[in-house]
């Protein structure tokens, strides 16, 4: 039983980590909490659904396509709207991204209706030594782990990644060192949207797709960031796995209704006890 819980927790934890890394990057680089992060994930899911239902493309192949599409959407949002509030008080950026998120959800409702959509691709589980590995979740885990690992490699070793990290440490100093900060903001927003889209594309084979599916992901991504420590990118990994495990353990003892509350209680507890995150984030 415990082994099963740990496996399920890790499987969903990788997805949390990947999606939350996107939210964390935007926050780190721009000091903007993107309320529209979950709705961007929802658009990723619909991209996969659309490509699968209308063109019969294998859902796994749609992951990079969804990422590319949402990268463009993210860049456009940043260039069109979000860049105006990067230096504004927090109130403005929160309200702006909240407005964007409402618009995205309702546009999706107009375009795709509220009907539940499903991508039926792989179902069932692999049984290994008495433990069940859900096939779609296992595949999602492998993809999410790969994308997250790749993201960390990019952040760690490439010039772009270094510029992103430099900008999130100090925008002024990065600027003085010749980093085109405006461009970094734009690329980061696009990259973060692509991470959300990857999450959405992978979720498409696991859960039902509907316009309001994203809301809870904004919240959970934020929780992962808080758990890992804001501004601490590897913290997203720890936070994601932790959230996955806690949710799974809670589902052992609680009814479905109450296990939705667990993430919330966790957020309040962390804010009470260790507001700088479990690993200790950079204080801002």
């Amino acid at each position: 039983m415990l082994g099963q819980v740990i496996i399920s927790g890790i499987l969903s934890g990788a997805l949390y980590a990947m999606v939350a890394l996107g939210l964390g990057l935007i926050f780190g680089v721009m000091r903007v909490i993107n309320i529209a992060h979950g709705p961007l994930l929802m658009l990723g899911s619909y991209t996969t659904y659309f490509l699968y239902a209308h063109f019969g493309i294998n859902p796994l192949l749609t992951v990079p396509i969804a990422m590319a599409v949402l990268f463009v959407v993210g860049v456009l949002l940043q260039r069109g709207l979000v860049f105006r509030v990067v230096d504004a008080p927090e109130l403005s950026s929160l309200l702006l991204t909240f407005g964007i998120s409402i618009m995205l959800v309702n546009l999706a409702q107009l375009a795709f209706t509220s009907d539940l959509r499903a991508v039926e691709y792989i179902t069932g589980s692999w049984l290994v030594g008495g433990l069940a590995f859900s096939k779609p979740r296992m595949i999602a885990f492998v993809f999410a782990a790969a994308v997250t690992a790749l993201s960390f490699l990019v952040l760690k070793f490439t010039r772009l990644g270094k510029a992103i990290r430099a900008t999130s440490q100090s925008r002024e100093v990065a600027m003085v060192c010749g980093v085109d900060v405006g461009r970094i903001h734009m690329l980061t927003f696009g990259f973060a949207s692509a991470l959300a889209a990857a999450g959405g594309a992978l979720l498409a084979v696991i859960v039902a797709i509907q316009p309001e599916m994203g809301g809870v992901w904004t919240f959970k991504s934020f929780l992962v960031i808080v758990l890992g420590g804001a501004g601490n990118y590897p913290g997203a990994l720890v936070g994601g796995l932790l959230l996955g495990l806690v949710e799974q353990v809670a589902s052992l003892f609680l009814t479905t209704q109450l296990s939705e509350v667990v993430a919330y209680v966790l957020l309040v507890l962390v804010l009470l006890v260790r507001p700088s995150g479990l690993l200790g984030g950079r204080q801002t």
């Binding site: 909490i33 309320i35 709207l81 105006r84 509030v85 008080p89 927090e90 109130l91 403005s92 929160l94 309200l95 702006l96 909240f98 407005g99 964007i100 998120s101 409402i102 618009m103 309702n106 546009l107 409702q109 107009l110 809301g215 809870v216 904004t218 919240f219 934020f222 808080v226 804001a230 009814t255 209704q257 109450l258 939705e260 509350v261 993430a263 919330y264 957020l267 309040v268 804010l271 009470l272 507001p275 801002t284």
Partner: protein
């Protein structure tokens, strides 16, 4: 100014005598939105801490009031006050951990609060009726509720005016402009933010309980919809956040617009609200009243 306000209030007080049932119900709705938008403005407009879940206080008040009326047999005016008290208790529980920190923590915590309450209400079926909802004994009190809702709108607006013109209000606005500076000047920012949140929870709590009594039936989806939060934010922003009469203006203008125009296009309506939020934040962050204040050099305290 005072004469104008008094004559408007007198006209509204006389309205139920001549108005139709639909008209009375509509004006009562405007009162409710004034109370909700004005309350949101107290925490978010004055301190800059955005509440994305103010409907949680509304719903908590609605359930507290409805349970007291339906199960304990309380008279509804008393239950409405209890609804306000329940919302304040909720505000303490949520404000204490989340307002100690600067930054977006409060905003996100409020974003999730709504879902949590909905889950809890569905779980404690014995008390709340769960997903089946809760029916109140039938009672036609729409005219008395009209007056009480009107008083609530006046009280919330008067409270905003008292706060904006007081040292307490100045401290709240200092927190909004620069929290570190506010702390350096010796303002106990945490307790000021918490006090603002508590004050801003009362109105929605009372309004929720009144709405429950008026409708006679509540269920989780009817009292915890995100749409209520969105509407009060849009109204306060459009009218002018951080002003006293901005939420009043926004609530009245957008409610009328909603009834006349947007009711015909129900699907476009929430999309428009999102667009208004984006537009106001980018193009006129001080709202309509803020623009008027700037252009005609009106006093800051309206």
């Amino acid at each position: 100014m005072a004469a104008a306000i008094l004559s408007v209030l007198a006209a509204l007080a006389a309205y139920p005598v001549v108005g139709t049932g639909y008209g009375v119900r509509s004006v009562q709705q405007i009162f409710m939105w004034i109370a909700l938008a004005g309350s949101w403005n107290l925490i978010s407009g004055l301190t800059g801490y955005v509440s994305f879940g103010h409907v949680a206080f509304f719903g908590a008040g609605a359930y507290a009031g409805a349970i007291l009326v339906a199960s304990a047999g309380w008279p509804w005016p008393l239950a409405a006050l209890a609804g306000g008290a329940a919302a304040v208790v909720l505000a303490v529980v949520i404000g204490y951990p989340c307002l100690r920190l600067k930054g977006p923590y409060f905003a996100i915590a409020m974003l999730g609060l709504n879902e949590v309450l909905r889950a809890l209400v569905s779980y404690f079926e014995g008390l709340t009726g769960g997903g089946n909802g809760l029916s109140l004994p039938t009672l036609d009190a729409s005219v008395p509720i009209y007056y009480v809702m009107g008083v609530l709108a006046v009280v919330v607006t008067a409270m905003s005016w008292l706060i904006v013109t007081s040292r307490f209000g100045l401290r709240l606005m200092t927190i909004r402009e620069d929290e570190v500076a506010a702390e350096a000047m010796g303002i106990d920012t945490f307790h000021h933010k918490l006090a603002a949140l508590l004050l801003s929870a009362v109105g929605p709590g009372v309004a929720g309980a009144l709405m429950a009594r008026d409708q006679g039936y509540i269920e989780p989806i009817s009292v915890f919809p995100l749409a209520i939060t969105v509407t009060m934010i849009v109204m306060a922003l459009f009218g002018g956040k951080g002003t006293v009469f901005g939420p009043v203006l926004g609530a009245a203008a957008l409610f009328v617009a909603q009834e006349i125009v947007w009711a015909r296009y129900p699907y476009v309506h929430p999309l428009l609200f999102g667009a208004i939020i984006v537009g106001v934040v980018l193009l006129m962050p001080r709202g309509v009243l803020g623009l008027l204040q700037q252009r005609y050099r009106l006093p800051r305290t309206i």
